[in-house]
């Protein structure tokens, strides 16, 4: 997460991508990355892990997954 946030900082600074002022809250981390982006980098990995664990549980009940 730290690595990807760093990439985001760099990309915003170099204008690889930009955000519409009117559609963000306006609070930026160190004047660069909108806090919405910070939230994105918290929520997406979290949801990725939850999806992965849920699928593991779900598929463990079927014959797709064998016991180790």
């Amino acid at each position: 997460m730290v690595v990807y946030l760093a990439w985001d900082f760099w990309a915003v600074a170099n204008k690889n991508w930009s955000f519409d002022q009117k559609q963000i809250l306006g609070v930026r981390l160190l004047n660069r990355v909108p806090i919405e982006e910070v939230a994105f980098f918290v929520i997406v990995p979290l949801m990725t892990i939850i999806t992965f664990l849920a699928l593991n549980k779900l598929l463990a009940k079927t014959k797709f997954v064998q016991e180790p």
Partner: protein
Amino acid sequence: MIYSDIALDAVLLAVLTDLFLLRTQLLTRGIFWITYGLILPFQLLTNWWLTSKNIVTYSATEIIGKRLAGAPIEDLLFGFSMILATLSLWVFISKKINPGKQQSDRPL
């Protein structure tokens, strides 16, 4: 086309991490690909929403120019690398903390 370069490097780094650095070998397991397949449509949906309302704008000089659902195709590489890196780290840490007990240790 800096974004293209970094996105490719990110995928390479995530793959190396999964296969060799942490040896979580998620790329060889079906469960990873099912997880990715489930997340991908939602990434595309979000990309489309963020770009169609011009909430996020990409600099035309930093991408190769091909777009999918509004966002540069580089975004797919970025998304894939982040999902792989996240899960690789997660599986690695959960194995360290709780060897042999985690659901995520199972084959498939």
